[in-house]
Symmetry: C2
Subunit: 305 residues, 2 copies
Amino acid sequence: MTVIGIDIGGTKICVGLVDISGRVLLESTFPTSPRDGFHTALAKIVKTIEHVLSQTDKNTNAISGIGIGCTGPIDPLRGTVHNPYTLPTWDGCDLVTPLRERFGVPVRMENDADAAALGEYAFGAGQKMNPMAMLTFGTGIGFGLIVDGCIYRGVDGSHPEVGHIPTKLSEPECYCGMNGCFESIASGASVDRAALKIGLANARAVFAEAKLGHVRATAIVDEVMQATTTAAWTLIHSFLPERIVLGGGMIDDQFDYFANAIQQAVAKSVMIPGNRVSVVRASLGNLAGVVGAACLVLKRRQTGS
Amino acid sequence: MTVIGIDIGGTKICVGLVDISGRVLLESTFPTSPRDGFHTALAKIVKTIEHVLSQTDKNTNAISGIGIGCTGPIDPLRGTVHNPYTLPTWDGCDLVTPLRERFGVPVRMENDADAAALGEYAFGAGQKMNPMAMLTFGTGIGFGLIVDGCIYRGVDGSHPEVGHIPTKLSEPECYCGMNGCFESIASGASVDRAALKIGLANARAVFAEAKLGHVRATAIVDEVMQATTTAAWTLIHSFLPERIVLGGGMIDDQFDYFANAIQQAVAKSVMIPGNRVSVVRASLGNLAGVVGAACLVLKRRQTGS
């Protein structure tokens, strides 16, 4: 049994052929180019799936489903994209129906953070953990929660937005309407902005300079870590995960910083039974999105409703 | 089909006979007297169940289960009490096994906030809402979340402790190890403490004086409402409930204050699809605990695992 997993970000789209053990047999990546509009992107996705399938021994009928992890907000129940931030020309478009009609297999779409969390639960660093939380520190802050093997959903299939947990009540102002949100302090884009203000190139430079004792870089890192500890405290007391898996571009280089900040919250808490929260690095690497998307149709048992 | 529902608080224990439609047919209440020790309380519970059953036409065999909602922390999987704060002499005691052996029926125990939430979901103000959150403003702050008809659980069956969401990062210090927790500002006990500092008798007097324009009482109410708005923002963005049901002693008199504070967070949020969060008052009244406890054994479909 093989399926197609599609990882859609604001910058690039990756299409992969994935087998039942979560291995990516083939993959192909191309730019999202949101300015070209939804239909151009859809045509490219269809063509890439056909290309991937043509490279295998199997014909189109051999795949048993298509899973999509898409940068949100999306509506997983209707299969529509509602992301005016990074996919403006796709707003309200239905990605699921045309792929289902073209390939004649079940197609499911989820928020990319949920798909990545499901991938780590099924094949990566979160196996057998219940509940399992995944926090992604990339351009923004992503979050997914897997409970009893299913993606946690809110009303109307909505997706937790834990990047918008307030961690300070003063500033900075966040686009969500609140001040001092976790994401507006600790995301890659936020640290990039803070870097520019002190004459450094980006988030990576901030961490590098902080390690060398740069005072203002250290102050930024301290603030990011304080926000992370506070947000982790809230997440731990709300969701009580058995494990928190950390992923995303910032984690590749700075896992120790973020893991320590979260461990501080875990260690300090007296309300959690036996402090049973482990913090580990994601293990599926840069194909996690494709594997997670594939999980949406690979194992019905683990994908929830 | 009738069952026994037992609501155990730090002050009193209520035992009720509940039918399949959630009606309390008979009930009996007595003091918890935690100083007398666990075994005295257990003997009183057994005697009261026997008393309640003797008052009906049915014999002991007629009840099909016993549900217990107990002030936590408790371990719902093992049926043991771990509450050194209000039930110190019960610490580690197993309440489930002796009742199961004595009455020969299934016995289940949950945190009282979870049981109350299940009661409101099954028969009260949260029917058909998914997910449904219940927030209780009593001596402390209680919380329960019902997802797909089941109680949300963390690792090892643990219970969300949303009273310990930080809503300020400065003070007051909370017994949980964090500063500025929701519970340490907005619970009945916290407002009682704040009242004493300004020469007022209790929380009720603070709200009454604030309505008359008392400056320092108004400042306390404002701080409680700001903490409530901040905590609600976090809860809404984490759990995305369809409805928040408010209960507890403070809500009886001050529902409008707390509902408005939560509605402010709902109205301000742009991340929640269609702002689909309603805030309503709990409807099961002072027998909610008994009805909720009964639900644990009344409808297997709705009680989760």
